[in-house]
Symmetry: C2
Subunit: 341 residues, 2 copies
C-alpha cells in the first residue's frame, strides 16, 4: 500500500528522521522524505536505508511529481494527520489519483513494539523513575516552603537531568484537593506535612516516552513507593482500592483479551469499593513515540491485546474538593502476562 505521512512521529517511525516541514511518500519498497533545504543535511545523515531524501522548496508540488513519476493511482492517508489546506494543495492537481482516507493508518502499525522499541521504552521508564526518587530525597531534605509551582519546576529539573532529557509531557504535581482534577495545573498552594501528593510524569529516551504516576503521603522520610500510610482513613481506603485495581489488572492482563475486558477488571474492583463514579477516566493507553497511542484500554475498546503491546495501567479515584489518587505503571504484554517496565 502506498501512503502519505505528515505527522512527525509517524515520519520518524517510518524513516528514522522527522522534521516540522516534511511529507513522506511511503511506497512498497521505498520511502521518499520530502523536505526543504534547512533539513536535508541532517535528514540524509539519519534516515534509514529504505528512505531517499528529496529536497524541495514546494513540498506539495514535489510530492505530486513523485506520485506521477512512480505511476501511483491509489494512495492512502490519515485524515487525522492532515490539515485541510496542506492536503488540498497536494490533491487538487491530481484528479486521476484516488486518495483513500484511513484513520490511524500509521498509529495502528505502531501499537505492537519491536524488541528494540521495548528496550528504549524500558530505559525511558528507568530514567523517569529516578526523578521520582530524586524528588522524594530532595523533599525529605529541604526546609523551604514549596508551592505546587515550585515543586513542578523542581520535578522538571530532576526529570530532565537539568536539561539533558526531554519530557514526555508537562508533569502533573498536585497536592490534596488539587489532585482531584486529573489534569491539574500547578497552583501557589504550599506543600505541608501530612499532605497528599500526586506526581504524574515521564521522560523520553531516543524519542520513546515513559509515563508513571504515584500518590504519596508527605511525612518525614516519605517516598513514592506503593506502601503509603495516610492519616486520613477515607484516603487510605481509597488508596488501597486503587492499588488493588492496579495490581489485579496487571496480574490478569493477557494476550487475546479485549482491552475493554481489562478495563473492566480494574473498574469492577473500584466499583465494589463504592467509587465507580469517581474513577472518571479510562484504565490506560498505549505508549511509544506518542505519549498516548494504541491500544486504548477503556470501557468500549474492542482492541484485542497482542504480544509486545506496551500500555499504561492507571486506575484512579477523584473526590472533588477533597483528594485524588492515581497509581500508574507502564507494562509490556508477553506470552505469559504483563510485566511492569
Amino acid at each position: 500500500m502506498n501512503y502519505l505521512i505528515k505527522d512527525e512521529n509517524s515520519q520518524y517511525y517510518k524513516c528514522g528522521y522527522s522534521c516540522d516541514n516534511a511529507i513522506v511518500l511511503s511506497c512498497e519498497n521505498e520511502n521518499f522524505f520530502i523536505t526543504d533545504s534547512r533539513y536535508t543535511t541532517e535528514a540524509n545523515e539519519q534516515v534509514n536505508k529504505n528512505t531517499s531524501v528529496i529536497e524541495s522548496s514546494d513540498l506539495a508540488k514535489t510530492t505530486r511529481e513523485l506520485i506521477r513519476k512512480n505511476n501511483i493511482f491509489t494512495i492512502a492517508y490519515d485524515p487525522k494527520e492532515w490539515k485541510i489546506s496542506d492536503f488540498e494543495n497536494l490533491k487538487e492537481k491530481l484528479p486521476k489519483v484516488n486518495f483513500k482516507p484511513k484513520e490511524n493508518l500509521t498509529l495502528l502499525q505502531r501499537a505492537v513494539k519491536s524488541d528494540k522499541e521495548i528496550s528504549f521504552l524500558k530505559e525511558a521508564v528507568s530514567l523517569g523513575s529516578k526523578a521520582f526518587d530524586n524528588l522524594a530525597s530532595f523533599l525529605n531534605k529541604t526546609k523551604e516552603p514549596l508551592s505546587e509551582q515550585n515543586l513542578h519546576f523542581k520535578a522538571n529539573e530532576f526529570l530532565t537531568s537539568f536539561g539533558e532529557l526531554e519530557l514526555s509531557f508537562d508533569p502533573i504535581l498536585a497536592i490534596n484537593e488539587n489532585a482531584a482534577k486529573p489534569h491539574a495545573k500547578p497552583t501557589k498552594n504550599i506543600l505541608k506535612k501530612d499532605d497528599l501528593i500526586l506526581f504524574d510524569a515521564g521522560v523520553k529516551y531516543k524519542r520513546y516516552c515513559s509515563d508513571r504516576t504515584r500518590t504519596a503521603f508527605f511525612s518525614n522520610d516519605f517516598d513514592f513507593s506503593f506502601a503509603q500510610n495516610f492519616k486520613n482513613q477515607k484516603i487510605q481506603k481509597a488508596y488501597d482500592l486503587v492499588l488493588r485495581a492496579h495490581d489485579e489488572a496487571i496480574k490478569q492482563a493477557k494476550i487475546g483479551m479485549k482491552a475493554s475486558e481489562l478495563d473492566k477488571i480494574a473498574r469492577d474492583i473500584i466499583a465494589k469499593g463504592g467509587y465507580e463514579k469517581e474513577f472518571v477516566h479510562s484504565l490506560g493507553h498505549g505508549v511509544g513515540l506518542n505519549i498516548h497511542e494504541f491500544p486504548f484500554i477503556n470501557k468500549k475498546s474492542q482492541t484485542i491485546l497482542e504480544e509486545n503491546m506496551v500500555f499504561t495501567i492507571e486506575p484512579g479515584i477523584y473526590i472533588p474538593n477533597e483528594f485524588g489518587i492515581r497509581i500508574e505503571d507502564m507494562v509490556v504484554l508477553k506470552s505469559d502476562g504483563a510485566y511492569i517496565l
Copy 2:
C-alpha cells in the same frame, strides 16, 4: 459573517477562553463556545460577555444543531486550522450549508493590536529581557564549565522565573559555529572565554508572547547589550552590519509601507556589506498570542504596515561552520514610527 474556529489562540482571542477540545461558532452578535464537561466550569468563569458556553459530549453534532437552529446557510472557516477528519465530521450531515474556506480568517483580524494587547506584549518583553540580564549576571559569576545544554536549562530557569511564567518557544542558546544554524539545538559544547554566544528567547504574559535575540562576546563582565567587542574582526564587522540593519529598519519603518519594503531596507545594508546570501531568513514576523503571526516581514510580503501592528526586526548573518549573528527586537508601529517594546 458567521465562522467556525478550532485553533486555541483564535478561540481565546474571540471568547476570552480556550481549551484543547472545543469548537467556536462565531455569529454576528454572539459566540458559542462548544466544549465537553471537563472545561465548562472554567469556561463559564472566563468567557467574555458575548460568548455562551455550550456543554457537549459530541462537539460536531452540537455544532451542527446550533447551525441549524440559527438558520445559518453560509459559514466560513480557515482550512489551515482544521484537520480533515474533524471538519468532515462537522460538514457531512449539513448538505445545504455552504462552507467557505478563508485562509487566515482570524489571524488577519489579530494583526493590529489593541492598546490592552500592546500593554500585555510590553510586559512580556520586559519580563523576557530580565532573563537576559539574569543569565549574564549568572555567567559572570559562575566558575563551572557549562555546555549549551546546561546554559539552555539555566536560561529556562531565569525565563520562567523558576516555573512561574511560560515560555513563548523553546529558547535558542548557541555558541560559535552552532549559532550559524538559525534553529540550533543545544549541544554538549562548553562555553569558554572569547566565545560568541547567541541567545533567542521569550516568555508569555497573559498568553501574549515576547521574542528577543542578542549576540554577545563572552568575556569577563560581559552583557547582552548592543555594544559588543569581538576579538575576531570578521565577526565584529558582521556584527556591526547586523546592528546597523536592525537600527535602520526600526528607524525607517512607517505606516503605509509594504512589509517587503521594510525587509529590503535591512537586506540592502547587509548585501552592501557583502553578506546578502548569508542573511538566510526574513526580516521579521508579527507577535501576539502566536509567536509567529501576521504581519510577516519578508521579501515577498505585500502586507501594508498599519498602526499598532507589533512585529520583530531580526536581521542576521550566518557563516556555516564559523559563526552566526542575529539581533532581534519587537516593535510596535505608531503614527510617528516604530518603537522597541
